[in-house]
């Protein structure tokens, strides 16, 4: 199968990950588009038989890190997706935010440092192995584990803060 075709199979998952990462549909799709363009331009560099998904996530990570660097240099405000959260909701006192439920997740994720957010999502949402995450992000596996550990715990605390009581339950 052509790498191009194979690449397209990954689009829905790239979009899902990007959406969780950026929480703004257009910006997330921009990231996917940039990733695809770069990948399509470099299909020659992809080694057949290796993990295409890891390769794509590596590219996406690089694009994302680049953009984040530029964005912070220019101090660009990344808007939260209008569809998912109204601006006014951020002004609501924390005890009223309870009703926001899953929207809190978007918000809490955005408050994680980018490095932790990536790892938490690659492991938790993409269900990549630690080794694959290490490969995709080009960091040692120990770093993956420590970022995961810190990120997940922080996310838990953030969610607990906005969701008093036993909102978090094991869903079986």
């Amino acid at each position: 199968m052509d790498v191009r075709d194979e690449l397209m199979e990954h689009v829905p998952r790239l979009r899902r990950y990007a959406r969780a990462l950026i929480n703004n549909r257009d910006l997330a799709d921009d990231l996917v588009q940039d990733t695809l363009e770069r990948a399509l331009g470099r299909t020659g560099m992809f080694q057949q038989g290796t993990d295409l998904r890891a390769w794509l996530f590596t590219i996406m990570h690089n694009v994302f890190a680049n953009q984040a660097r530029k964005a912070s240099a220019r101090a660009v405000h990344v808007a939260v997706d209008d569809e998912s959260v109204h601006e006014s909701e951020f002004a609501v006192p924390s005890d009223q935010i309870r009703s926001l439920e899953m929207r809190d997740l978007d918000y809490a994720l955005q408050r994680l440092p980018m490095e932790q957010r990536e790892v938490v999502l690659l492991v938790g949402l993409e269900e990549m192995s630690y080794a694959d995450v290490a490969l995709a992000l080009n960091i040692p596996i120990g770093t993956v584990m420590s970022r995961l550990s810190r990120g997940r715990e922080r996310l838990r605390a953030l969610m607990a803060g906005t969701q008093p009581g036993a909102r978090l339950q094991v869903v079986r």
Binding site: M1, D5, M8, E9, R16, M102, L105, Y130, R172
Partner: protein
Amino acid sequence: MSDQQTPIGEEELHAYVDGTLSDERRAEVERALEQNPELAARISDYFSLNNMFHERYDRVLNEPVPKRLQAPAPRRWRIAANWPQFAGMAAALVLGVGIGVGTHMGRDVVAPVVGRADTRTVSADGSEVFARQAALAHVVYMPAVDRPADMTADHEQDFVQWLSNRLGTNVHPPMLSKSGFNLSGGRLLPGADGPTAQFMYRGPNGERVTLCISRRQVNSNTTAFKLYQDGPVNVFYWVDGDFGYAVSGGIDRQALLQLSHDVYSQLTGAAPG
């Protein structure tokens, strides 16, 4: 390391959540959790977070891909039908799979690869493609059935009826609860020649395993289990007469093999050579 009282590190707790601990270490963590409700609550939260990710973001998988993200000549594998989720069905159903349906799932993706109708043995031709697609289906679709919906007996009945209508014959997923895996959902996956049945199972620690069953174009003798590996996903697949089977999961190979034997013996009543 083998000391039973080795304290459990922070990172090991996460490894536990992600199912990457060795069996013995996992058992030790579980003992610790039993004795420490606070810790257990924290671990439970970690599991919940992963579930929430899926609950929140899996919907993106089903959104139509915008034009700008489509390839010049897109040939994507689409979800033709989402089975209603059917939790708790495992108990009600027993084996006996006989699907009068199509063959290789996602054949539209793999377009011209599938073996022709000559009397070829099951070699690298079709069955490996099948295994590959099973692995793909595992990673693409498995997360979407992360959290089974509640389902009453009536719904189960409806579901089985619906499924039977779609496939033109009865399909019952095997039960793997003996090994700790419970049925958590099922889907029909599209293929050029008809649907493939995919069943999802969840293990005691949230491990996910899928079983794909598809009718083959070429009738073949029973083959031994073969292993296909795609990244973290292992797939054991085999062919038995008209049907191809693939058991996929990111779990330990031995455990997966055991499950495959389970599936095999339930579906055919014997163990392969």
